[in-house]
Every structure is written in structure tokens, then in C-alpha cells.
């Protein structure tokens, strides 16, 4: 006899309210998590999409890579030891398209490497988001610091830095704009690079991402909201079952007196919690996927099923903990108490 389900059916409204709250809280969590993920892509997909490896910047710049300069002799030393190493620079800037519209972009120039798009002088490769600004292959682009023009060679997917589309240019053109041919950063792909170089500070990919000021600020605050929502949902379960249980203390006492196991009462509560949570989460997962499809163009939203799945599992675990904590009072109920209260 499934008492848990019978109670849900008899008290539809109560459980429906709980389910709706869980649905709303989890949907909000999924959306914010999708937003956090989307923003992180938008802010640093250029870096995030690199393989695992080690980043190096000059030690004296205090983790602020735009000021970093990797000396030529040192770079030579590194590339002799690690031929796969790549030196690169990122500079925020502007380009003007054929109708003289100004677009904010991130110039990226790199030494010869398959990890960065290679272009010849006078050529430029752009992030695909610029196609929405009416820029086409073959268009001629200019920059106020640059005497020549760039012909748009092609577009690439999802290459963003600091919320701006990336523009790959040649080392020669980079030097023409910024009057330097020393690069800011060196990247050595590979999981087990732990080498240190005098005068350089090394970062893992994650540490490097964290050193980008806006990146960690964005991610920390959004992730904090996600965790708050998860904790809130756990507390909701605790409070809900606490109130339900308080109303049923007499009944539990009687059930214990007639021989019902305490574990049966717990199972009843867990079953209800799981039924409500799973239904609410299933609907909210579907809605979040729908939202991913319907999200307005340009809204940085990126939510994979696997990250929703992970969050959903966390919701279930937290819900179980919440329900169990408030269920501990069931354990303490003495059958006698209920009978004697009834007798008075």
C-alpha cells in the first residue's frame, strides 16, 4: 500500500504548491546557470577553448597581462624547449567597416601555431557574431592606427574575449598598430607542464581565467546566486516537511504504537520528496531547454543538458537532506505521547 502517494493525491493542493515552488526555484537556477555559462563563453571563449596548458606572463606586471612583455631571447629559449609553445597578444580596439560603422573588437596576434588562426598581413579573421553587423567575407576594414586595410578572410565560431568578438591579425599588422613585436603571453599546451622561467609567472588555465578581472567578478556573483537558490530549495523542503510532520505527530505516534516501523515513515517522506522534486525538475529542465532555444538573439545563454543534469542531481540531494533533517523529529516521537495526549 503506497501511503506516500495516497497522501499526495489526497492533499493535492499542498503538494502542488510545493512542487510549483521547486519548479520555479530550479528553473531560475537553471537560467542563471545558463547565463553564467553564456557570459563566461562571451567573456573568454578565446581562452576557455584552448586545450589545458600553462600560461606565462612577465612577473613584474602583477597579474595584469596587457602590460606584460615576453623578451625575445626568453621566448626563443622557451620555443626551443617546447616547439608547440605559442606567444600571443590581445588588445581591445576598434575596426571601421565599409559603411564606416565602428565595431569594438579584441585584436589577437600570435606566433605560428595551430591553436590560433593564422593570417597574412592585410587579412583579418573575425568571430562570426560580426556577420550580424552586416560584415561579409571580402569586406575591407580599417583602423585609425593602421595605415592599410584588412580584407575579411573568413569567420570563426565562438571566439570572444571580454565580451567583444575576436579579430585575428598578423604579427606584422599588430606591430604596425602597437609599435611592438614583443608578445604579452606565452602558452604551452599540455597537462604536465610545470616548468618555471626566471622573470615569468605561470598560470594554469583556470588561474589565468580567474586573473581576468571581469571574468571572476561575473562568475563569482552568478555562481553565488545559483548556490543560494539551491540552498533555499533545500530549506524549503525542510520547512515544508517540518510543518507537515508537526501536524502529523499524533498520527505518527499512533502508527508507531500499532507497530509501523520508523523507517517506513521515513520512506514515506522520502518518496513524497522524490516524486515532487522529480516531476518539478523534469518540467523545469524542459522549460530551461525551451528557454535556451527561445532566448533573445545576443543574450549570452549557454546551457548544456549535462550541466542541467548535474544541477538537478544536486537539487535532489539537497532536497533529501532537507527532508531528512526535518524528519528527525519523527524518530523522536514516542508512541506513548500521542496516546496519552489523546486520553486527556
Amino acid at each position: 500500500m503506497n501511503m506516500a502517494w495516497k497522501e499526495i493525491v489526497k492533499n493535492k493542493v499542498r503538494f502542488l504548491i510545493l512542487g510549483s515552488i521547486i519548479f520555479l526555484v530550479s528553473l531560475l537556477t537553471f537560467i542563471i546557470s545558463g547565463l553564467a555559462n553564456g557570459l563566461s563563453q562571451d567573456n573568454a571563449s578565446l581562452i576557455k577553448d584552448l586545450p589545458n596548458g600553462t600560461f606565462y606572463m612577465a612577473e613584474e606586471v602583477n597579474n595584469s597581462f596587457p602590460l606584460s612583455r615576453i623578451d625575445k631571447p626568453l621566448l626563443k629559449e622557451i620555443t626551443e624547449e617546447h616547439p608547440e609553445a605559442v606567444a600571443f597578444s590581445i588588445q581591445m580596439g576598434f575596426i571601421h567597416d565599409e559603411s564606416d560603422q565602428q565595431q569594438s573588437i579584441a585584436f589577437v596576434a600570435a606566433t605560428d601555431s595551430s591553436l590560433f588562426k593564422q593570417v597574412n598581413p592585410g587579412e583579418i579573421i573575425l568571430d562570426r557574431s560580426l556577420t550580424e553587423k552586416e560584415i561579409k567575407i571580402g569586406d575591407k576594414l580599417t583602423n585609425s592606427q593602421f595605415a592599410g586595410t584588412w580584407g575579411v578572410k573568413r569567420f570563426v565560431d565562438q571566439k570572444k574575449y571580454s565580451h567583444a568578438p575576436v579579430a585575428y591579425i598578423s604579427l606584422e599588422d599588430y606591430e604596425a598598430i602597437y609599435q611592438t613585436n614583443t608578445m604579452q603571453l606565452v602558452f604551452i599546451p599540455g597537462d604536465d607542464i610545470s616548468q618555471e622561467y626566471a622573470g615569468l609567472h605561470s598560470f594554469s588555465k583556470n588561474d589565468f581565467l580567474k586573473s581576468l578581472p571581469s571574468y571572476s567578478a561575473e562568475q563569482t556573483s552568478l555562481n553565488m546566486i545559483v548556490w543560494f537558490l539551491i540552498v533555499i530549495s533545500g530549506m524549503l523542503f525542510a520547512i515544508f516537511f517540518y510543518m507537515m510532520n508537526v501536524q502529523k505527530i499524533d498520527m505518527y505516534g499512533i502508527l508507531k504504537a500499532i507497530g509501523v516501523k520508523t523507517s517506513t515513515l521515513f520512506q514515506m517522506m522520502w518518496t513524497q520528496m522524490l516524486v515532487i522534486t522529480c516531476i518539478a525538475l523534469a518540467i523545469s529542465v524542459m522549460c530551461s531547454q525551451l528557454f535556451a532555444v527561445l532566448a533573445p538573439e545576443g543574450m549570452p545563454f549557454h546551457l548544456t543538458l549535462s550541466s542541467v543534469g548535474k544541477l538537478a542531481i544536486i537539487f535532489v540531494v539537497i532536497g533529501l537532506i532537507g527532508a531528512t533533517l526535518s524528519g528527525l523529529q519523527i524518530k523522536r516521537i514516542e508512541p506513548l505521547q500521542a496516546i496519552q495526549q489523546g486520553g486527556k
Binding site: M3, K6, E7, I254, L255, A257, G259, A338
Partner: protein
């Protein structure tokens, strides 16, 4: 020798510094097919005695034996099993599960007692008992729509559906009017005979003694 035997049972409660002996050496024996009533003034220890006999609390001294086995020597889980399969309980209030129908209340009890029957057989058993207590037509009703007397009849049915050996009833008619009380008492008496149960009942209403086979009067924790 009865099925349930109490020998020189004593119970002392400690209220801070104060020690109070509530039961002062009670011996009694319950016989199958008999309703034994416990009467006496409020506070004389009737409920305490009943709950001790039912294994819901322990004795301070003395023994409670069911079928020759000492309850205080059993593990809590064994006592629970005993209560679930061999004992039935009726209290002043019916304490039915609010979200179960009359039929489901009884089916749950069969599950609790781990009654080995197929679902259809369980339903048939429930049906027959409900017919017997004249509640067949209320099978699918929820407790909230039953009258006080009807609820108590369902509680009695729940207490005996699993064919217990002993029925414990603590003032089962205290919340009912006189007419309903008599009906409920007659029902308990009738079922005790029919199913050969040993019934121990607390009542403060001496009018009800006509429905019992013998009565034990208590005063200040002693039988008088």
C-alpha cells in the same frame, strides 16, 4: 495461566527530585475470549498499566509475559513486531490516517502485521470485517466524513483485522455519547468472543461494565 500475564508489576516515575510509584505491585492474567475491564479514579494508573502490558513502556520491577515470553527481555524491534502482529489498539480518539479511506486503513494494518495474503484476499478479508461491523457501505469514505461512532468502529476494525491475540482499549468510548458508547462496547464484546481475543480495556464509565466479563478496580496504583 493466561496468554498475557503481569506479575507484581511496579512503575516509578521520576519528576526531578521527586520519585512517585504509580503502580505498586500489580498482578493479573488475561484469558482468551474475555473482556477484562480496568476501572478506577482518574490518575489511579490505569493507562500506565495498559501501556506497560502492551509493551509501550517498560516496568520498573516485575514482569510482563506474553505466551510465556518476558517482554522486558526483548529487543525494541521484537516488541514492535509483537505489537504489529499480536496486539491490537483502540484509544479514546480513533486516530485514523486522514488521507486513507476506511478500506485502506485496514489494508495498511494488514501490511504492518506482515499478513501473508494476496491483494484480492486482503480486500476480501477487509470487506468481510466491514460487513460484520456494519461499515461495508462506508468502505471508500475518508475519516473526515465519518461520525465519531463510525470512526471508532473503524478504529476497532483496524485493531483486529490482523487477528491479534490481545486487544488493548484505553477509554474507547470516552469521546462518544451514551448510545454510541453502548454500541461500541457491544461490538468489542462481541468480537472478543467471536475471535477469541483477550481484551484489556480501561473505562471510567461503570455503566459499560455489563459488556465486560470481569473488572479490576484500581486505586492509587493497587488493585482493590
Amino acid at each position: 495461566m493466561g496468554l498475557l500475564v503481569l506479575e507484581d508489576v511496579r512503575k516509578t516515575f521520576h519528576n526531578g527530585e521527586l520519585e512517585e510509584e504509580i503502580l505498586k505491585g500489580i498482578s493479573l492474567s488475561l484469558q482468551p475470549g474475555e473482556v477484562t475491564a480496568l476501572v478506577g479514579a482518574s490518575g489511579s494508573g490505569k493507562s500506565t498499566l495498559l501501556t506497560i502490558a502492551a509493551g509501550l513502556q517498560s516496568t520498573s520491577e516485575g514482569v510482563v509475559q506474553f505466551n510465556g515470553e518476558n517482554l522486558s527481555a526483548m529487543k525494541p524491534e521484537q516488541v514492535r513486531k509483537l505489537r504489529a502482529s499480536q496486539f491490537g489498539f483502540v484509544f479514546q480518539f480513533a486516530h485514523l490516517v486522514p488521507f486513507l479511506t476506511v478500506e485502506e486503513q485496514l489494508l495498511v494494518m494488514l501490511d504492518v502485521a506482515e499478513f501473508k495474503l494476496r491483494k484480492a484476499e486482503k480486500k476480501e478479508k477487509v470487506h468481510q470485517l466491514l460487513q460484520l461491523i456494519d461499515m461495508g457501505h462506508r468502505k471508500h469514505a475518508y475519516p473526515s466524513v465519518l461520525s465519531g461512532g463510525e470512526k471508532q468502529r473503524v478504529a476497532i476494525a483496524r485493531a483486529i483485522i490482523h487477528e491479534p491475540k490481545v486487544l488493548f482499549a484505553d477509554e474507547p468510548t470516552a469521546s462518544l455519547d451514551s448510545k454510541k458508547s453502548k454500541e461500541v462496547m457491544a461490538l468489542i464484546h462481541d468480537l472478543t468472543k467471536r475471535l477469541n481475543i483477550s481484551t484489556l480495556m480501561v473505562t471510567h464509565d461503570e455503566e459499560m461494565l455489563v459488556y465486560t466479563d470481569r473488572f479490576i478496580r484500581m486505586m492509587d496504583g493497587k488493585i482493590v
